[in-house]
Symmetry: C2
Subunit: 116 residues, 2 copies
DNA sequence: ACCTATTTGTCCGTATGTATG
DNA sequence: CCATACATACGGACAAATAGG
């Protein structure tokens, strides 16, 4: 894979790895459908612990950028699909919190427009 | 603290601990401003590893339910403030993704109303 | 200003479990 | 049944931020 990380940086290694992969995804160096290297392999290449890479993968998974499954490995998600997925997730969160706070749909929609 | 966890459950321990604490927060058994027990102490009480408790704390922090700081420990956040904080965060995410997808404010607001 | 103790954060290593192929 | 790959949990080491003396 060849990613640039700096062990002496104050930025945590798992964040550096996640950021480097995010860039690789954005530039299509890693394309949708393509497999990321197994965490164990990437860890040995970067000379970091397996958990450090797994944590970076988990971050990208939570961001909807990749799919991570036991036994199968990690696959790049179509970026447009990922974006819609994040939008739906965020909308779900907004609705849940708005309900919790007793806001009406119109009040919530207004907040969205105002935030634009 | 006295939380109920089941080591034989398929549910991960850190999720069980987070869920138990969430309940304690909801029922005001843990009140805003109050300190949670140091992770090390709670870990010994529950007979689990320190990291397992820290992971549960980190989840609650990401949910905006508590504030976790090195050296200071973890403090319960006012639930209403936490709810507004999460709403603002979710709205921010929605706007960011909607912009990414080229949606207009009105289109996005409509999606919110539809999701209600 | 210094030192110490406390508490969380990161990273490593190891072991074991679970899902997939 | 077996190999692969991620998931959880444990334990240990050290760092960084905070609080108190």
């Amino acid at each position: 894979m060849h990613l640039e990380i700096d062990p002496s940086s104050p930025e945590p290694l798992f964040n550096q790895i996640a950021a480097a992969l995010r860039t690789a995804l954005r530039t299509n160096e890693l394309s949708p459908g393509e497999h990321l290297p197994p965490a164990k392999l990437l860890a040995s290449e970067l000379k970091v612990n397996l958990h450090t890479v797994l944590r970076a993968y988990a971050i990208l998974r939570d961001e909807g950028l990749i799919e991570v499954r036991r036994g199968r490995g990690s696959v790049v998600v179509d970026q447009n699909r990922a974006s819609f997925r994040r939008l739906d997730e965020a909308i779900h969160q907004v609705v849940a919190e708005a309900r919790q706070l007793g806001l009406s749909p119109d009040q919530t929609a207004d907040r969205i427009r105002h935030a634009f």
